[in-house]
Symmetry: C2
């Protein structure tokens, strides 16, 4: 039986511990804060590690990003036969630290992407990683070391993606870190507006700025560790914004930027890795009383229409919301007919 | 009975015509394209205007933004007793043109904000504006002229907001035009990534770039008409991005920006004009088979929990999706219990 030691009993570490323990793995856990380690044990994340415990086969370092490199080196040195992985969201600096210490053959990088909903540090649970991407960066490690880390991800039912550490860091700068910076900058630019003016905000602004509500915790570490790729991405974004701002014809410059953006948005995978589906939006006026959403979906189902996605736009001043059901193009006419027959008001085709 | 003439039989003009005609208003319609005007008449948007028709009480100019000022002046001169309004999404340049011509007392600006879902130019309909904001900029016009335009918005069941034209233009630059530019720039910055790297995109990137899929039509005109406010807003955003990019400590700079962004996001109105509610997200793993969403909401309703909002995150590679139900804090424990009892897998607390 593979034995695993987890360094760090925070949300990610404890969740990994719970998930592996539930599947029968032998898990020990430790934390710089002894109380946190005891709490981890009490919720099933593993046994608090004692000084005489046998050396683990695998160490999972689950500490804040800024502390990850040092903790990985500590683990590689403490257990000279163990494979060590970590969970930081920036991978190249840690791989470099392991390689520079001559210990790269026992280090495999991991980045479990558990999603923003859990960044607030709520209670750990074993299925945190289910159906989520889990990036593995093998670096200098041999296949059996990689296989051991893959088995952790598979046991937690995560979706493994292997890539090089540099490519990972460049990618997350563009798909995650820079979008966070840009969303915060768009939000900050609301500063000069009066409250009545902000009320003109529509769904577009809400979408763009949703992640701007993120807590700043960890972003400072992430930005510092991935500063090279983040700065390159910000250069790219700033350059495009300057081209619009400074253009002789701002309309032409914006059209060019929108066209380029549209080409890239089309590459963001939609459902099941395929291209984004061309779903048809059917927008319905829904009274804001309990149970209306259920009634709407029931009426949609009675027409044998499967709803692929839902967006709800709450009206700022009225007791109604605009709910948009996204359906396959061939289903849209039947849906509109069925909802109209049930006296729903369709707000836009 | 108030008589209305609508100049422009596109989506907005025809939708206004249908909505007013349905409520018994006397509506005529015209379009530079005679065929478009005839089509408008055939779908109930009003009678095609003839040369001998009596002068209208009110003219609604519903032409593309770049043509709005000239069309408004034409209407003010053609019908010297009529009140004239328009529907362009930039208001100050048109008000200035009317005032400069000495005709400002008969011009009232309108900006019906019909929402992005309809920007694609699908078929017109009379309830396009229901529960949507409709900004009115009175400028130099007397109260009876403003009341006439308000009655149009009220008849179409829109939500009237009165503000000054300059304030409107400054506001939409920050809540709409600059966010569009920024979203397109974030999307364009994906350019250097391979397809496999783009697959790391999570819900955050999808949210930020959703409006980057917008068609560029009209954005060129809007940017040109509102270039002063748009450039000022882009200056603000670029400055904040540069402060992060060029900081000695990128982590500290980003933390500062995120903190400022969070303060502003909190000012975006949530449901019914109040502050954004602190809903609790409950994320559920939902198999991708028809009817599951309905089953989920039925089970939520059986616990007497009202779902305030839903977000669906389709997993890029697996046949499951993560569906998040947003509920009032006091409802969350009951919802989790009820769903667990019905064998739903909760993905994060």
């Amino acid at each position: 039986m593979t034995s695993v030691h987890i360094v760090g009993a925070g949300l990610i570490g404890a969740s990994i511990g719970i998930g592996l323990s539930a599947e029968g793995w032998a898990v020990t856990i430790s934390d710089a804060d002894a109380e946190a380690a005891r709490l981890g044990q009490s919720i099933g994340a593993g046994t608090v590690r004692t000084a005489d415990a046998p050396a683990p086969d695998l160490v999972v370092v689950a500490v804040p990003p800024a502390a990850a490199s040092a903790a990985v080196l500590d683990a590689l040195r403490a257990w000279p036969a163990a494979i060590v992985t970590d969970v930081a969201s920036v991978k190249a600096p840690i791989a470099r630290a392991a390689a520079d210490a001559g210990l790269g053959s026992r280090y495999v990088g991991s980045h479990p992407m558990a999603g923003r909903e859990v960044s607030g540090g709520r209670a750990a649970q074993g299925d945190l990683f289910k159906a989520r991407p889990w990036v593995i960066c093998r670096g200098e490690a041999p296949s059996d070391a990689v296989a051991l880390v893959r088995s952790v991800a598979h046991t937690l039912q995560a979706d493994v993606i292997e890539m090089a550490a540099d490519a990972h860091d460049a990618a997350v700068a563009r798909v995650s870190h820079a979008p966070q910076v840009a969303a915060s900058a768009v939000a900050a630019a609301l500063g000069p507006l009066h409250a009545d003016d902000v009320a003109l905000a529509g769904q577009g602004l809400r979408d763009v700025t949703r992640i701007a509500a993120s807590l700043p915790a960890m972003w400072a570490d992430i930005a510092r560790l991935n500063s090279h790729s983040l700065v390159a991405t910000l250069d790219h974004i700033i350059g495009d914004l300057e081209d619009v701002r400074d253009a002789d014809d701002i309309g032409e410059a914006l059209t060019d930027l929108i066209e380029r953006g549209r080409m890239e948005v089309a590459r963001i995978p939609g459902k099941h890795g395929g291209p984004t589906r061309d779903w048809i939006p059917v927008t319905v006026i829904v009274p804001d009383t309990p149970g209306q959403l259920l009634r709407l979906l029931t009426d949609a189902a009675s027409a044998d229409v499967n709803v692929e996605d839902i967006t709800i736009e709450h009206s700022p001043r009225q007791l109604v919301g605009l709910t948009t059901l996204h359906v396959l193009p061939e289903s849209a006419p039947a849906l509109v007919d069925a909802l109209t027959a049930q006296n729903w008001e369709i707000a836009s085709p």
